[in-house]
Symmetry: C2
Subunit: 596 residues, 2 copies
């Protein structure tokens, strides 16, 4: 069953009626949140995307409507007309709580079976059920709020960039597979059997070509694809805010993006982001926080103890330093009383980051120090360590000695772990932004035994470091920048190389022959023969941005129809088998069958 | 070579300086359109996306800059600073033609080889060269104008829909293949070897699910994909403006879309579209114009002669009518003098539309009529035919007798062909919109020997025709509408079925068993169990809309990086071969190799 509208028009949304509407005849349409029979009346809470309105039906209001209303069940879709009146028992929780609608007529537009999940906020249902019945999950007001924030954010971004002379230009989805980078999603070609398109991992090359073409300022909110094993908060298809500008340097890109960020956070959350956003070099971030995306909402900085322990008796420390490594620590405030078991667990934790062990000093009082390594140190040595670590009475000092990379990574992770355990960020509403700059241009890849590009091979080196490209590539810093919010990377970008000599040096540093470079990036290199402008840009993960703006830690909450951890959609059952004929036309065969 | 900006900032775009800027020091950046040496001076026309500015260098202005300027060639990328002065010989063709820049310093940001195509408007170069060097083709001002119109149009559409309560919601690119419709692009799954995603042909099902989810008003500007053999003006990936609304009927969808269309044409072209846009039923369009997308910028309507010839001696006419067909004509104004050869060619033309032949009557004067079929008719009969056809002296009547479908299709095509030959639309600047409504719900597919959905299986029948769904399905009209502009379909949509009983009748009419219906549309049918609202929508081809707005007949001109007719990109060389390892991971093998 399902009645037609037959010309009936909605006059107002469910969440809109207020006291000033009292007395008017209105028509609302929506879903039954709740139905109650009470004192010979029928009460229906009718819900649409704007909110809930209470409707009351009674024999004395309208007998026919009353009897029909008595038939409805939750999630029936209704159209109800009648007069809006003041509500006798005000509901302060509802924005419409001071009014109610007298149900004079009702259409049952469609019926509903009992839904397999509750349509309510903060639902605690199994993820696979939520994903299978996504259309019901999406009916929940908190999910609707998130997708509305997503719409608004994209709109604000587009408005801002349009106002600032950026053109949104669509780049192709069916592109060429490039061996560098993450795994591509492939699309077999029917016209060219045996050949494949790839879905784009990013529009990087196309946006650079648009700069060569003189479009000056480009942006796009665009789907990108990576066929990687899904960690939490990754999706096979994700959305990027992709930006590129010509005739700019680092500060220009950063300045306009700060204004963009400020606008978004002001309009969506009414949060004022103070400009300029602070900046921190990659090396400072690594040394102080053991991370290139430091969470600066709390301190607990890493301190280098190497100076004060380099001549100590404790072999682990001495050797680490002698071998070029270091001894560093973080201080857990007021944790001197932490139990041995808990500390041991932290020791296990840092081992997952390849640290061999965790030394500690509990600064119990001026006179009492507890530590498994105290026997290796004089009292003065310990004082010197505590001083260097800036520990106060009551603190626990946690120390790692190893290669620098291991020490920093492990302490960086430990810092975050402790913040979680100590609930340092509980009720923290801060949005702490920082630009991380001066990234290394190249990274030594031990497996490939060569340098690989930290960002991509078109990232411009810092002017003062170009001299080291041939002699000491690891030392070269890039004109690259990431915007980090509360310890998460929101976006990142760089100034690109527009100079053929520097580009050739870069390829040499990467160990690419001319042939290899051309094979991989031929059409971009060809384009660069024809007057490329200086240019640079940035790309943001829109999904992650929306997670911040809507206060969720689950990426699936900000995507209307996400995939699960296996890149599978329980609702549409994609991927699925296809007709043999389809494969035959594409000139491919299945060589391995799904064992699932 | 390539100089750095080193902090140099652009202060104004090339196309912006005017007389009120005279006297100020400016910095412009762009490309060399032209360089001339004249009277001991060097003149450079510098171009960016906003236009061209003349720069003059001389020994007396700045010797160093003068000497460097003398080195540059077309398409070098430059930054030039100096003082803006009044131009001595005004160039009225340039918006900046009253001023020029005295070149006091110049940076050569990058050099350029001689480009393989000219960077100028209205280039007449081979398409494959234009596509291969697309980044240079895109530098041409007329191409830039088109992409700027595309950006602006998308922006206007988004602004309008946002103002009207529509939410842009992204639907997945990796979806499930459905056997109905056009051929899908497939994407092999690595997690589920032997299974495939499909790229969406449209977000149809997802947007209906969003209505079930209560999003009320949805839109999306979104890439869609069809792996079809490419006719002119088709691309394997194309962009749709996709819209869906809840609690609406036909008139509601049409009304808001008329306002959208009006806004776009006003803001982009300053053209006033008069509202309401006229409407024409499918059957009127077919009978008068032989097309469901009639070009109404000219008349030449089809006239039915059956009544006046049904008892004539001419067997071809008589038999066609006796067999249920008809005899119809169009009148070519003032063409009575058309030569025999030309008329014969029109006869050949209609044969490609399956008409067996073309009869004609040249109404040379009141007393002179020329016609190969005149011998079958009395003078009065001929007069009756001319009267019925509304032919005037000097006109040529062109007649086809056959099954109705053939007659209408052939005359519809002939009508357009004649308009072209007679240049009826030369210099016509009109934008003639019409809504075509009341489409047949079902179409009889002779190959499959069953009815198939004209739009899709969720299109709502007209209320008054529901009764025929079981008894006479061919008679049922749909709540469907297309918006047609100058004989091209800009968009189309329908009200959807939200009533399970009607949906079941529809499936029955399509010859689907319950199982088959569920196999194909299971999750949508499942969703419809839970209170689906009445809903409907529309989808526009954005590419085609931009073609109208930018005045091009080539779809490739409105897409930054299009494919050629073989769905191949000569620039990126996509599709291309991939590593065997990639295929192995996906569990597929190549069974047929590209013979190209």
């Amino acid at each position: 069953m399902g009645e037609s509208l037959n010309g009936l028009k909605r006059t107002i949304m469910c969440g809109e009626p207020r006291e000033n509407n009292v007395g008017s005849n209105i028509t609302v349409m929506g879903w039954v949140q709740r139905k109650r029979n009470l004192g010979g009346l029928v009460f229906i809470d009718l819900r649409d995307r704007t909110g809930i309105l209470q409707v009351v039906f009674g024999e004395e209001i309208n007998k026919e409507a009353f009897e029909k209303a008595d038939l409805v069940k939750p999630e029936y879709c209704l159209a109800i007309s009648g007069k809006l009146v003041e509500r006798q028992s005000i509901n302060p929780k509802l924005p419409t709580g001071k009014v109610e609608l007298l149900g004079e007529s009702i259409k049952i537009l469609s019926e509903s079976e009992t839904p397999p999940i509750y349509i309510k906020e903060n639902l605690d249902a199994a993820e696979n059920v939520r994903l299978k019945y996504r259309y019901l999950d999406l009916r929940r007001p908190d999910m609707q709020k998130k997708l509305i924030i997503r719409h608004k954010t994209a709109k604000i971004v587009r408005d801002f960039l349009d106002e600032n002379g950026f053109l949104e230009i669509e780049t192709p989805m069916l592109t060429k597979s490039t061996p560098e980078g993450a795994r591509d999603y492939l699309v077999p070609s029917r016209n060219f059997p045996g050949k494949f398109y790839a879905l784009p991992q990013s529009p990087q090359i196309f946006k650079q070509l648009l700069m060569v073409s003189g479009y000056d300022r480009y942006f796009q909110i665009v789907k990108c694809f990576r066929d990687e094993d899904l960690r939490a908060n990754r999706q096979p298809e994700f959305t990027q805010i992709d930006i590129e500008m010509s005739f700019v340097e680092e500060d220009d890109v950063i300045a306009i993006n700060e204004r963009l960020i400020k606008r978004v956070f002001k309009e969506i959350l009414d949060v004022d982001v103070e400009l300029p956003i602070k900046r921190m070099s990659y090396s400072e971030a690594m040394n102080k926080y053991g991370s290139d995306k430091p969470d600066l909402r709390f301190g607990m900085e890493i301190k280098d103890l190497s100076d004060v322990v380099k001549e100590c008796e404790f072999g682990v420390f001495k050797n680490a330093i002698a071998e070029g490594g270091s001894v560093r620590a973080i201080v857990a405030k007021d944790c001197a009383g932490m139990g041995r078991k808990k500390i041991d667990k932290l020791g296990e934790f840092v081992k997952t980051y390849k640290a061999k062990g965790l030394a500690w000093i509990a600064y119990k009082s001026e006179d009492e120090i507890k530590s498994p390594i105290s026997k290796f140190f004089s009292e003065d040595d310990i004082k010197a360590i505590l001083d260097k670590a800036e520990a106060k009475v009551g603190d626990l000092v946690l120390i790692i000695a190893d290669k620098n990379r291991v020490v920093l990574q492990a302490l960086g992770a430990l810092r975050l772990e402790l913040a979680k355990q100590l609930e340092l960020l509980k009720d923290n509403k801060e949005f702490n932004f920082v630009w991380i700059t001066d990234f290394p241009l190249l990274e030594y890849d031990e497996e490939e035994d060569r340098y690989v590009a930290q960002h991509h091979p078109f990232t411009m080196p810092k002017d003062e470091d170009i001299q080291y490209l041939e002699t000491d590539p690891g030392r070269v810093r890039a004109k690259a920048y990431d915007i980090v919010l509360n310890g998460e990377e929101l976006g990142g970008g760089s100034i690109r190389i527009h100079n053929t000599e520097i580009q050739e040096k870069m390829f040499k540093a990467l160990g690419f022959t001319q042939e290899k470079a051309w094979e991989r990036f031929g059409f971009l290199l060809e384009a660069f023969k024809y007057g490329p402008p200086p240019h640079g840009g940035i790309a943001y993960g829109l999904d992650r941005l929306i997670m911040f703006l809507s206060g969720t830690e689950n990426i699936k909450d900000v995507i209307a129809f996400p995939k699960n951890q296996n890149a599978y959609c329980p609702m549409s059952e994609a991927p699925n088998i296809v007709d043999y004929k389809q494969l035959e036309e594409l000139g491919i065969e299945i060589s391995k069958l799904d064992e699932n």
